[in-house]
């Protein structure tokens, strides 16, 4: 599918702040590929408030049916949808538990923000779980250059869980983190760093500890790696590029900036 390759190529080049416009443009140029585009192109996460419990939940393709989105807290669609697809009761039980646990993880690491987990059975007797986090650090974050006008971290972790085999279950994790940092002040002007990084991880783990424990461990490890990668890429690589274009006048050692 050369068109999809070309489309994904474009998404890797367009400035990340224009992701939504670019996706919209591609959807109108390639209407036959809309489901591929929607599932493969990562967009900044949006949230809705679940009116039943007053908690926020994150919107994505995995909890969407028509134009409504299912809350992982109440399992209801917003706006209400008759016969909206819901996970089986066995899946729903695991999904609820995952949401509770993931909220604790999110609070510990992010001190705020929103999280959601969606699960559904797939055709191979396994299931798929999608863990999402959205954190807005603007106005409360203090960057190196001062007041952080815009600071957003969106994480999407999709785990494909294989059918339970004798001792081990296979887990395939695909993680994407989207990060936007913008500072704007009189002295140094506008500085905007944004984009996304994607990684994969495969593991075969014993079912003894349970799915949630295994998935939690994988995500924790992956987020740690991604955070380091982001530091190196966002700050390291871009700074390296700028210093190549115009070496700084202090020929002193180049220290990695503390983020």
């Amino acid at each position: 599918m050369k068109e999809m390759e070309a489309a994904m190529g474009l998404m890797r080049r367009i400035p990340p702040k224009h992701t939504e416009t670019a996706l919209s443009a591609l959807l109108s140029l390639m209407p036959n590929h809309s489901s591929d585009l929607l599932s493969q192109v990562d967009q900044p996460l949006q949230v809705l408030c679940d009116v039943d419990c007053g908690k926020e939940f994150i919107l994505c393709e995995y909890n969407r049916d028509a134009d409504s989105y299912r809350s992982p807290w109440s399992n209801k669609y917003h706006p209400p949808l008759e016969d909206g697809s819901v996970p089986s009761s066995k899946m729903r039980k695991l999904e609820s538990e995952a949401n509770e646990i993931f909220a604790i993880y999110r609070d510990q690491y992010y001190e705020g923000g929103s999280s959601s987990v969606y699960m559904w059975e797939d055709e191979n007797e396994g299931f798929v779980a999608c863990f999402l986090i959205k954190k807005d650090g603007s106005k409360t974050g203090q960057g190196r250059r001062g007041y952080l006008e815009e600071g957003a971290w969106d994480a999407i972790h999709v785990i494909e869980v294989g059918p339970e085999e004798e001792e081990n279950t296979s887990y395939r994790l695909t993680s994407t983190v989207m990060l936007t940092l913008t500072t704007n002040n009189e002295a140094s002007g506008t500085f905007s760093l944004s984009g996304s990084i994607r990684r994969q991880m495969n593991m075969k783990l014993s079912f003894a500890d349970g799915h949630l424990c295994n998935m939690g461990r994988m995500i924790e490890e992956m987020e740690g790696k991604l955070r380091n990668s982001l530091d190196q890429v966002y700050f390291g690589k871009t700074r390296e590029m700028v210093c190549t274009l115009r070496p700084p006048s202090e020929v002193a050692q180049m220290r990695m900036p503390e983020s």
């Binding site: 489309a7 080049r13 400035p15 990340p16 890429v233 690589k237 115009r246």
Partner: protein, 255 residues
């Protein structure tokens, strides 16, 4: 959307606008790659060519692209300051005009500039002195920088008594697609020589962009504007003061 039809087809005009949008938003050094992907998706060479013929000149000028002159006598900067006609760009340093194919991003021919295209001797004294100082600065500080000084207002001024304006353009780019990394540094300094006040007002606009795309898509976009001023003196003294101002402000931007 006003009306939902069974198959809401995009009009040709809309397709061209979308294609243009992708081209214009290409990161530094990547428009040709973007063009390839857009052409494939559009699947209509006529519409693509229309979009390209409109987008490429705008992109080339806003990115201050540097092209080797076809006679290998040096490089020419493609900027709106030096634009004589749609595809003819003045290089004031060598008093030549480069003919450019925007879509292919090459210089296809060079001719000497005509007198009407150049500034008067009076203006040229200031332009030339400033150009010499800026060239020294750029060679000192930018490993792969290219610069030019244009007269953007008052080029026919014969002597003292009128205001005139020069523009300094500095452009440095690093394209490393095999390392999934591209970047550019552009600065434009507008310099207004005010005759009555005997002052020179300086306004600078710096823009740095970097794109890293090995594991995803990460882009840096930093912009900085600044102002400064100095006294209206003899051409060489102005040139020294101005290049010192420019060096000072550009060093401050460093990340």
């Amino acid at each position: 959307m006003a009306e939902e039809e069974e198959e809401s087809e995009l009009s040709d005009k809309q397709k061209v606008e979308i294609a243009k949008w992708f081209l214009l938003n290409s990161p530094p050094g990547e428009i040709q790659y973007v063009a390839k992907d857009v052409k494939l998706i559009l699947n209509d060479d006529g519409l693509f060519n229309e979009a390209a013929s409109e987008a490429f000149p705008l992109y080339n000028k806003s990115h201050f692209i540097v092209l080797p002159m076809s006679d290998r006598s040096g490089d020419v900067l493609v900027t709106s300051f030096g634009e004589l006609e749609d595809n003819a760009y003045l290089d004031p340093r060598t008093a030549q005009v480069a003919i450019v194919d925007h879509v292919k991003q090459v210089c296809t021919g060079v001719r000497p500039a005509q007198d009407e295209e150049l500034a008067t001797a009076y203006i040229e004294e200031f332009r030339f002195s400033l150009d010499a100082e800026i060239l020294k600065y750029v060679e000192d500080v930018y490993p792969k920088g290219v610069c030019s000084v244009y007269c953007v207002n008052g080029k026919d001024t014969e002597g003292p008594g009128s205001d005139f304006e020069l523009a300094v353009v500095i452009s440095a780019a690093r394209h490393s697609p095999q390392n999934f990394c591209n970047g550019s540094w552009c600065s434009v300094w507008n310099i207004v020589f005010k005759d009555e006040q005997q002052t020179v007002e300086v306004k600078g606009k710096l823009q740095v962009a970097a794109h890293y795309f090995e594991e995803g898509n990460v882009q840096l976009d930093a912009k900085h504007e600044c102002k400064d001023a100095t006294l209206f003196q003899a051409p060489e003294d102005c040139a020294l003061a101005l290049s010192s101002i420019i060096r000072h402000h550009e060093t401050e931007l460093h990340i």
